[in-house]
Amino acid sequence: MKRSWYATPYALWMLLFAVVPLLFVCWYAFTTPEGAFTLSNFQEFAKPRYIGVVLRSLKLALYCTILCLVIGYPTAWFLAGRGFNHAQSLVVLILLPMWMNLLLRTYAMMTLLDDNGVLNAALEALGLGKVHVIGTEGAVLMGLVYNYLPFMVLPIYTVLKKMDYSVIEAAEDLGCNPVRVMTRVVIPMSVPGIVSGVTMVFMPAVTSFAISTLLSNGKLRLAGDLIDYIFNQSSSPNRWNIGSSFSLLMLVLILISIGFLRKVDPDNEGGGMW
């Protein structure tokens, strides 16, 4: 037996459990429950009952991306700095949550922000009075940032770490002040990392599932929750078709951004996982 045949179980398994299921999504997205071709499933998301969720997902994902960039860039910059003894262990500490169960992290956040939770207990103890956070878009945004921040830090850190320090020294020797070194040298050179980070935060944030439901007591759904709702709870006879068309749209959105990423950063300098 030729050695290349050993890959057969792999090829079959991936075909059956990774490729074929996506073909099912495509099939359902373009058909009616009776099996006739249609494009009408895609119009559903523009209808009033869903468009609000779609717009909210885009808005919150955008805010989340901006916040992650504002917090993540300085973090990566500090971590990549010279002579920072604790950098290596801090990198691990910042990246660890990335691999941890999203549900558990969100559940922890919920405990903190709840009306009768730890945050309010602390505020009351300080005599500051309660705040109502859970159920608001602010809470959802906080949950999103909490979950996706490491995905912003990692690619920017990777790029900054690889950066040639002598370029910065050259800029300084030529009379650049620190602000100009930052705006004219460091930031332009870290663009691939920024693009990777933005994509790696924005995409999962748009498609996020459960985070928003948990932090808003089920009041605010995002696109991922909407897909769950359509498949598992709605009573529409063509729920599989509508749900599939939404899933397909998300997949296409992701593929477009990966394509974009490859174009901006062809050598994968940003170290994105895609």
């Binding site: 890959a7 801090l90 909490y146 320090y165 459960a210």
Partner: protein, 262 residues
């Protein structure tokens, strides 16, 4: 990049402290609450292990624990075998064909979890396969295989290709050469892959949610359902144990291969 002036050091220390508080305070608070005697989250009335005792006396949670471990173990074993054989097979192929096959592995890694979950659910429902433990295992194997593949392939590339040929020239049968020559060389990669697969399997919530049912819930599903019924300290205990387990596994993985390079 950053000059180590005193002010930079202070700003940096402050920034990192705040960031660590943001990242870890919610988790640490939850862990603390799992030892709190009071059900209330706003007051500490003493240390207790009651919630952990309750946890291990709850048949539903014990059942879910059994399901979670069973799924993770079976998925790890099968995905390790398939992934390792796949890597060996692809290593022996011409690059064009191998590239196509490797790219298939990027599919589950790039597809959002929710789409992966929904797509598998659609396929199962279409084929009238009732959702349960085995549908979840099949799904886990599919998302575990790429981790094994990407852990084993670099080890194969590092290997001296002449070793296998030499074994064949000296009269070894191909299968024996595989077991005696190739496998020992790539064992560290196989082990890392298996460890990663096991971690990912324990850690997964979204894909399991769509490919299983309430009849055979795993632990994540139990936590998720419980959130709708208000907060229970036993869930804090459960989450604490899950966090601790995953943390230990991740630290083990990180010692074998840098997490940031995955």
């Amino acid at each position: 990049m950053v000059r180590n002036t005193k002010s930079v050091k202070i700003v940096r220390a402050l920034w990192m402290t705040l960031l660590m508080v943001f990242l870890y305070a919610p988790i640490l608070i939850m862990i603390a609450l799992s030892f709190n005697a009071s059900v209330s989250r706003s007051q500490w009335t003493g240390f207790t292990l009651d919630w952990y005792v309750k946890l291990f006396n709850d048949p539903a949670i014990l059942g879910a624990l059994k399901t979670t471990i069973e799924v993770a173990v079976i998925a790890t074993i099968i995905s390790t075998v398939i992934g390792t054989l796949g890597a060996i097979g692809m290593h022996a192929m011409n690059t064009g064909m191998a590239n196509v096959l490797v790219n298939v592995s990027y599919l589950p890694m790039t597809t959002p979890d929710i789409v992966t979950g929904v797509s598998l659910m659609l396929m199962y429902l279409f084929c009238h396969v009732p959702l349960g433990k085995w549908t979840m295992i099949m799904a886990h194997i599919a998302f575990d295989i790429p981790y094994v593949l990407f852990s084993v392939m670099p080890k194969l590339r590092q290997m001296n290709p002449n070793l296998y040929e030499a074994a064949l020239d000296l009269g070894c049968k191909p299968l024996k050469a595989l077991v005696k020559v190739i496998v020992p060389e790539i064992t560290p990669g196989i082990f890392t892959g298996a460890l990663l697969a096991f971690t990912m399997s324990l850690d997964d919530f979204v894909i399991s949610y769509f490919t299983s049912s309430d009849m055979y819930p795993n632990l994540s599903r139990i936590v998720y359902s419980s959130t709708k019924l208000g907060v229970k300290p036993t869930m804090y205990a459960l989450s604490t144990l899950m966090f601790a387990t995953i943390l230990i596994l991740l630290i083990l993985v990180n010692r074998r291969t840098k997490l940031e390079n995955l």
